[in-house]
Symmetry: C2
Amino acid sequence: MTQSIEETRSEFIEKIGVMAQTDGLPRIAGRMLGLFVWDVEAIAFGDLAEQLQVSRGSISTATRILEERRLIKRVAKPGDRQDYFQLAENPYAKMLDYYAETLGHTQAEITDTIDRIPADETVIRARVTAYADFYKSMAGALGKIAKDLDRA
Amino acid sequence: MTQSIEETRSEFIEKIGVMAQTDGLPRIAGRMLGLFVWDVEAIAFGDLAEQLQVSRGSISTATRILEERRLIKRVAKPGDRQDYFQLAENPYAKMLDYYAETLGHTQAEITDTIDRIPADETVIRARVTAYADFYKSMAGALGKIAKDLDRA
DNA sequence: TCTTTTGTTTAATTAAGTTTGAACATACTG
DNA sequence: CAGTATGTTCAAACTTAATTAAACAAAAGA
């Protein structure tokens, strides 16, 4: 089975789009991420809409989401009024930071519950605490990888 | 603000239900998980439907999902035809295993793409490989925590 | 055997989230 | 200034996933 590089690229973009849904990203944002992982060159706002075959509104939403997660950055090009986008520096460290942050938030929510459990309910406190610790250790581990990636 | 333990329990269950959606669990499965984290005693199938105020069909689906992820186990009680459920042993290690497995699968998908990129496309290969490595390191880290939790 | 209980399956409904398209605001161009 | 290009916002349309309710199968009692 022979496949052109354009086909491989297109398949990759779609694949990342599907998988991104696992990470709580809309499909278009995932496809966009795949595109930016593949392409080195910055891409214009309008070209994104054309390449991904979606509305400009969707591009606006997806770029905002990816920017908020610090996975892409918006750049300017001299002589072109359009916004350009490209993958951010250390995008995977940023992604890990985001996960660690989310997990830390979850842990805080659970800890908030623990504080409301009467002290004499030792069994329940222990069980809920074990659950909170689980999120804590995950957040810690991912935060650590993020740091490792950052200095690479 | 004073709150009965029943209210705290109920809030906790709802809270986990909402947060579980982040993990790709249906809300009912998440609420059920919260319930099992809180309660030590095994709970009957019928009681689950009543306590969570959902249909028996939903209980069937949610228990299946949580069993597949090895987070709860189905147990029998002498003198009662109903199925009983309770939190599994080392549930958080199981949860981490599941995440690690999912991430490993994602990595494999990306690696599959790498194999189709022509060898002379060094830049693209490097970029996609960095993305695959990111999933690899995450899977590795979570797998490691899972082991640590298991021997605790 | 007939009825009841229990849990699963599936078709239909409901709810939730995504995507679009039009309206809008802003800035640029001639 | 008028017209065009650019990006955002938001209501509506669409899509997908979750939930229910009813039908079903299996097992237990009577």
